[in-house]
Symmetry: none
Subunit: 236 residues, 2 copies
Amino acid sequence: MQLEAIERRTTVDLVVDRIARVIKDQKLAAGSRLPGEHELVEQLQVSRPVLREALARLQSLGLVDIQRGRGTFVGDTTSLANCVRLLQSAVTISPQELLSYAELRSAIEVQAARQAAENATAKDIELLSALLKQLDDEELPYAEALEIDFRFHRKLIEIAGNVLMQNLMEVIYEFVLTQMVRTTPTQRENQLGRKLHKAILKAVRDHDPDAAELAMRKHMQAVLDRLRPQEFTNAK
Amino acid sequence: MQLEAIERRTTVDLVVDRIARVIKDQKLAAGSRLPGEHELVEQLQVSRPVLREALARLQSLGLVDIQRGRGTFVGDTTSLANCVRLLQSAVTISPQELLSYAELRSAIEVQAARQAAENATAKDIELLSALLKQLDDEELPYAEALEIDFRFHRKLIEIAGNVLMQNLMEVIYEFVLTQMVRTTPTQRENQLGRKLHKAILKAVRDHDPDAAELAMRKHMQAVLDRLRPQEFTNAK
DNA sequence: TCCTGTTAACATGTATTACAAGTTAACTCG
DNA sequence: CGAGTTAACTTGTAATACATGTTAACAGGA
């Protein structure tokens, strides 16, 4: 006979659920005021610290907005904002390994290149073009070239128009940029990078998502290959 | 003269930031134990209710996992998933938001498929194959088919071997899965999905990253196309 | 009449103390 | 050696008191 685990809920859990439910069921508008703490304590028959912990949790979820001296109000949140928050947490609890970050970067850059090719305006293309022109300067110090390189990529992400990807890429850039400043690519790698940048720009200008994807994939694969252990066999 | 608003931070705010920073800066592993409440109260020189409110907030974000009698731990994938579940059930998702989630999902799934094709063991392939066999059952209720579908995808992400992407996908799946339960794909979409699942499996079995990427790209593109506003022209 | 200052009422923020309830390790006994 | 008990540890909850911010009402002076 297989019995299921008994689920224990703390009083704080119950209060969180109750308040969240009331907000949802009564379709309370963002900004509408909830009863004060002392009244909620009375109504829910719980202690004030329990209520405050529940409200603290709801505040983190964006479901309520606690304003000292004024009261507690229904939060003005969106699922997108919450998703961003949770994605940040997911990043924080994940191991900080350069390869992991680079793989995620690759995933996002490729998808964003497709979307940029679909979305780009003439002005966007002009700006991307100007950035690549700056990168053509052979005298450019590496750190500066890297900075402009990342601005090119950031612009593509922006054009793609997905807030989640933008937020994640800021975290990734911060981590990856720190690491990449410490390594100098070869002349050959530089030239391949430039060539692929140009191919990406052309695909975006032509509004060709498949070409953009292909060029970005190659670009990212070159970046990943530099990071992975050198394996010359595929024996598995 | 224009002065800026003075930002007031409560003690709870400060404690939240401090603990989050410690977790991040010390690269604490998911599941690692934090000092007990009484010790944290001592170290941070704040009252216990303040500390508990801060921990309650961090728990809502999935950054910590509070276990009665045992201690407080850095959040892990499971505790994060529980947070996501609670949160996403409290807010409604707009079609535009759903599209954002699906785009990020697409980015990661495609990268993961490449990596799965590089990494998969015979056992992995066997398991993937068994999942697809289950999906062949035409009598399978939609909700159940969807569940197995997501297990197939989760397995691919696992094989890819990037914990960061796994954690991010746990967040995304919660947001995406709920919506998909509510919409029933057409027979044609189902068949295309099945066909592409098989192509993905074949590519993984053959250790062919390019084929895996292509099949997954098609699969994800079909998902995205269902979500996008119906535009029949590319006039831009 | 209008504006400034004061006060009281209301509301959240923080601290202290005490007890409840769950977990786990160590010890004792059969 | 296994089961039961106990103590130590840990989080959960309650009660009480005070601090601090907000706002409305009122009074006084120009």
